[in-house]
């Protein structure tokens, strides 16, 4: 696939890794914000290719993971109602609520549907005028334009049976919160490339300045990630703290103006609770007054939600980068993708899921030595 496969070239990847090794003189901790980047790092073993001093700390860039438990429980309540078609992206299906998840609601007869695009949900509303269609609008700035367009189109078509259950979260406030939290060890950021393709990176220079951290806009393929890491290390080694764009084939400083225009019309900034982290001020989007009529929370008035997280789950610590998934006592035992205690174990962008699905329950040494069997030793 053009503009994808070339950025997975193993030989070039190893070259960039060698460069990083050559310029690294001290240990550094770098956070990749986006869960998609975490998955790519773990799946491709990028972290195995870095010199021992460089540690990747996995950030809270998993919107599914940070959707508040209360909202999950509300989603379950709405999806359980007759006459409702509840639509969401695939990985929301098994995110644990207090008692249940969407998968189980579906198993009990709820009309829960996985869609590829929010426009599919609008289509369902047009085709099912007798039902209320609800779309679970979860995501960072990358997904917001799609959700904005779906609600905008629903309004233009005058649909009365379409609504959005909104939980949008924003990256720059999260970076600020992480850098401000006591015990923070992050020294540089890889900013989320596709979030920046929408928003540009004009929001980051004040952050780089205030917290004196290098911020490198980075893509998702192995070469992009390694290059982003290389530039972050180069800055750290030379004491700089600037904003750089290492994903320039897709990201510009100003970002996508057309998208930002509709976003400003459909959404407004609000405080948001991040599951496992707490409330981060002005870190989310909700529907603006003009579009409030399409807000599912207002339309459905769910009450009586009593939330309770698992006592064992340490998703919050994982999301803040305080621990790696394998350091959680429940990892791989009480908590697996089959039986998740927290969202980070089921989301396609969750760090715990990445570690589990790509087999990171072997220690680093064991995993590396498994390779001795592959490179030709016939010890059997």
């Amino acid at each position: 696939m053009k503009y994808l496969t070339e950025f997975r070239n193993g030989e070039i990847a190893r070259k960039i890794a060698r460069e990083i090794t050559q310029i690294t003189t001290r240990p550094w901790k770098i956070m990749e914000v986006c869960g998609g980047q975490t998955h790519s790092i773990i799946k491709n073993g990028i972290d195995q290719m870095l010199p021992p001093g460089i540690e990747m700390i996995h950030g809270p860039g998993c919107p599914v993971c940070v959707t508040p438990l209360e909202l999950i429980d509300k989603a379950l309540a709405i999806a359980s109602q007759p006459g409702v078609i509840f639509c969401s992206f695939g990985d929301m299906l098994r995110v644990p609520g207090t008692d249940s998840d969407l998968f189980q609601v579906k198993g009990r007869g709820g009309d829960v549907r996985v869609v590829y695009s929010p426009l599919d949900a609008v289509d369902l509303a047009v085709k099912n005028p007798g039902k209320q269609v609800v779309f679970f609008g979860v995501g960072f700035e990358t997904t917001a334009p799609a959700n904005a367009m779906s609600v905008h189109l629903a309004k233009r078509r005058g649909l009365t049976n379409f609504s959005l259950l909104v939980s949008h979260v924003l990256v720059p406030p999260a970076i600020a919160a992480i850098m401000s939290s006591p015990g923070n060890q992050v020294q540089a950021f890889l900013a989320a490339g596709h979030v920046c393709s929408v928003m540009g990176y004009w929001q980051y220079p004040p952050l780089a300045e205030k917290f004196r951290v290098p911020i490198v806009v980075t893509g998702f393929e192995p070469l992009d990630l390694l290059e982003g890491i290389r530039r972050a290390v180069a800055q750290l080694e030379s004491g700089r703290h600037e904003v750089e764009n290492a994903y320039s084939r897709v990201v510009t400083f100003d970002g996508n103006q057309a998208a930002q225009k509709l976003l400003a019309e459909v959404f407004e900034v609000t405080d948001r609770a991040w599951r496992g982290i707490g409330v981060i001020p002005k870190s989310g989007w909700r529907l603006s007054a003009d579009y409030r009529a399409f807000d599912a929370e207002e339309r459905f008035h769910i009450t009586g939600i009593h939330t309770e997280e698992s006592a064992l789950c340490r998703a919050g610590d994982v999301l803040r980068g305080a621990i790696k998934p394998a350091q959680c006592a429940a990892f791989g035992r009480e908590c697996t993708p089959r039986h998740p205690l927290g969202a980070t174990m089921v989301s396609s962008e969750g760090a715990c899921a990445a570690y589990y699905n790509y087999g990171r329950f072997l220690s680093a040494e064991d995993l590396a030595s498994a390779g001795s069997a592959i490179t030709g030793a016939t010890n059997g």
Partner: protein, 365 residues
């Protein structure tokens, strides 16, 4: 009268099984109803087998959990296998539920080391299902049976009311004669055994997904559905005793098959991802849908676990056969990291490919 029926029903349904006796620490109690994942060929499905079916039906022939049961009856060694087909959509590029129903069971017998001989075919049809479609399906079954050299000798037809079935479900059961001197089974793989696949991975699953998701292609992905007994017979004729295990990687794909074998034989498995062939369109479709080709179903491929000294011979026989042109050696079994499947990625790093949890793709076959 209605009351009597209700009482009878209440008596018939036992209380929920007592899960406390089950050895698995995370029992089915979490999901007291069947979910789609139970049909996926992954961990959920195998839990159902281990904790519900096995204990109830307990007998040695069943516990082998191979693709077919190997039985002794009247002095003959026979293999018996059954499969149900609930694929949606019924017709897809490269085939239909008809071809699947015949080839699926033929292949299960063939990879168990048997020559498939006879099939039964049971149909559950939904009221209102098109007779023209049924005729097309039946015709496909007849042609597939002829190609495979098997006869469909008995069957059954039931009809359910409109809305209680998806057009057509088919169940086939097959009987084959075990080939003399052949002992294959998921538990027979040894460290150093070479692992060979007969062709490209992921074709069938992505052919189905392309229809379901409305994906269009420049060159459409066609299901690889095919009967493998001819090709397998050639392998067994040439190097029979060297073949320790064979599997057709259907639901759950290559990764599920390799993990199952690793568990059954208590060996580790190592593969080189670069050597697993995937068609460009399949690769692109997987990329688009966020799927991993190693977990995607195949319906016309086999995985062989052979003694290393026979690997080259197996490869050349496969590549000379129309169904094995893209055969490749992809890895080997090892005494290290037992029960675990490790892959070297194209980056040169290692990753563990775990057992799939539920279903990646529902109703693929």
């Amino acid at each position: 009268m209605a009351n009597d029926l209700k009482v009878a029903a209440a008596h018939a349904v036992k209380e929920a099984p007592d899960f406390s006796n089950w050895t698995c620490p995370l029992p089915l109690a979490d999901y007291p109803t069947i979910v789609m994942g139970h049909g996926g060929g992954g961990k959920l499905g195998s839990e159902l087998v281990e904790h519900l079916f096995l204990p109830a039906f307990r007998n040695p022939a069943l516990e082998n959990l191979g693709d077919a049961a190997v039985l002794e009856a009247g002095g003959a060694r026979l293999a018996l296998s059954t499969d149900s087909f609930v694929v949606q959509p019924l017709f897809f590029p490269g085939g239909s539920i008809g071809e699947l129903a015949v080839n699926g069971t033929v292949n299960d017998l063939a990879v168990s080391g048997a020559d498939p001989k006879f099939l039964s075919a049971s149909f559950i049809l939904e009221e209102g299902f098109s007779l023209a479609q049924l005729a097309a399906i039946v015709d496909a079954m007849a042609k597939s049976a002829e190609t495979a050299g098997v006869k469909i000798v008995t069957g059954d037809t039931k009809v359910v009311e409109r809305g209680h079935g998806d057009g057509c479900y088919i169940t086939t059961a097959g009987v084959g004669v075990m080939r003399a001197g052949i002992q294959v089974g998921p538990h027979r793989v040894q460290p150093n055994d070479a692992i060979i696949v007969s062709g490209t991975m992921g074709d069938h699953g992505m052919a189905i997904m392309s229809v379901r998701e409305g994906l269009e292609f420049e060159s459409p992905i066609r299901s690889d559905c095919a009967a493998l007994n001819g090709m397998i017979a050639q392998i067994l004729d040439a190097v029979g005793p060297s073949v320790h295990a064979m599997r057709d990687p259907t639901r759950g794909g290559l990764a599920s098959t390799l993990n199952e074998i690793a568990q059954s034989s208590n060996v580790g498995i190592v593969i080189d991802e670069a050597s697993v062939h995937v068609r460009d369109e399949v690769h692109s479709a997987c990329e688009l849908l966020g799927l991993d080709p190693v977990y995607v179903a195949n319906e016309g491929k086999a995985v062989f676990f052979v003694a290393p000294e026979s690997a080259d011979r197996v490869l050349s026989i496969l590549r000379a056969h129309p169904l094995g042109k893209d055969a490749a050696r992809i890895g080997h079994a090892t005494a290290e990291h037992k029960r675990m499947l490790v892959a070297r990625t194209t980056m040169g790093a290692n990753r563990v490919i775990p057992v799939m949890i539920g279903e990646q793709l529902p109703r693929i076959c």
